[in-house]
Symmetry: C2
Subunit: 216 residues, 2 copies
């Protein structure tokens, strides 16, 4: 019985997660969520106070998924901090291509859609951004410790910039129905990283961890 | 009589433009648009086939407004191509601050919200992105002609990158309810521009047009 209850909550959460991603928050009606979750409104109100409350739970779930679902499988592929950052970006490229260039980052989409008065939801959206950028910042700090970027690089600012570039690139690719805008953004970022890696005439290849030759 | 007809269409268009910006496309019902425009559904269907058709007209209007409303007033303030780019970004900062950090770029928002099946709308969204980035590209080409950035700089790619940074920065500021994420993104971009302006040890100040001293 307790298990059935947990399963109903999980079905509601998963249905909302999928539907908010497919259609957005406003376009997705309560009846649609209930139908997808095979639940009735009595069960819904047993678990959630409102649709907004469900939204907050969905955003909480995204936060919990960040490491095990998104980052961990990528981080296992390499120890190199720059490669990790560009693997993360390549993951979004995969999502864009697999969706025939209709992919929209669910968090970015909600950031722009949800009304500013839903303050708790926006705090959760910001927490998701913070988690993503925080993971990139961790990579940048490691890169700095390993002497791969200059000491003066502001890792917090640069990590938020990587998120900015991902979100802006995904957004454009969705409307152009082409992965090109995303690719251009990542190429430009890679060039910037290469420049940051050679602030005083040094040259280091970014993204493959090799070729640390100096051009002194 | 003809004038009254034009005014009705204009009122519908303006109401939709405002409401899509305030609430998004899906959250804004037809009855709300009619009420705001003080029009009835007969008038609506005289001018537009559907809500989607109205959306396309709104996006067309944004395209038409780009130069006279957004760019021209800024371009009049300076001839310097880098200053123009950073004035354009500063304009978005103004919009963020004036809205108490709830601003969302209406085009970016629609890019992520509108279903991919609305192909005409997405083509118009892409055309808006193209217009904005094209204006920035113009500035970059001038900067290159004036020797302010290296010949090798890919102006098309870099101009799309500026748009990417603006959109990603606006998005984060809305959820953090703070202008800081936007400011950080612009600062990082400015630093990149400064590096692009001194590819071979030259130093040129970006954004104020002066201080072209060389550090050879």
């Amino acid at each position: 019985m307790a298990k059935a209850i947990v399963q109903t909550r999980e079905r509601l959460l998963q249905a909302a997660l999928d539907l908010f991603q497919e259609k957005g928050y406003a376009a997705c009606g309560m009846s649609e969520i209930l139908a997808r979750a095979q639940a009735n409104s009595g069960s819904f109100y047993y678990f959630f106070r409102s649709k907004e409350d469900l939204l907050v739970a969905v955003l909480q779930r995204y936060e919990e998924m960040l490491f095990p679902v998104l980052l961990e499988p990528l981080w296992k592929k390499t120890e190199d901090p720059f490669e990790r950052i560009f693997l993360l970006l390549a993951k979004y490229r995969e999502l864009i291509v697999a969706s025939n260039c209709t992919y929209g980052c669910p968090i970015g989409r909600l950031a722009l859609e949800i009304e500013p008065t839903y303050e708790e939801a926006h705090r959760k959206i910001a927490a998701n951004f913070e988690g993503w950028a925080g993971a990139v910042e961790q990579c940048l700090m490691e890169a700095r410790e390993q002497g791969k970027i200059a000491k003066q690089v502001q890792t917090r600012r640069l990590s938020r910039f990587v998120l900015t570039v991902m979100e802006g690139g995904v957004m454009q690719s969705r409307s152009y129905r082409s992965v090109e805008p995303f690719d251009l953004a990542v190429e430009e970022l890679r060039q910037y990283f290469q420049m940051l890696a050679m602030p005083t005439g040094e040259r280091k290849r970014i993204g493959n961890g090799s070729d640390p030759r100096r051009a002194k």
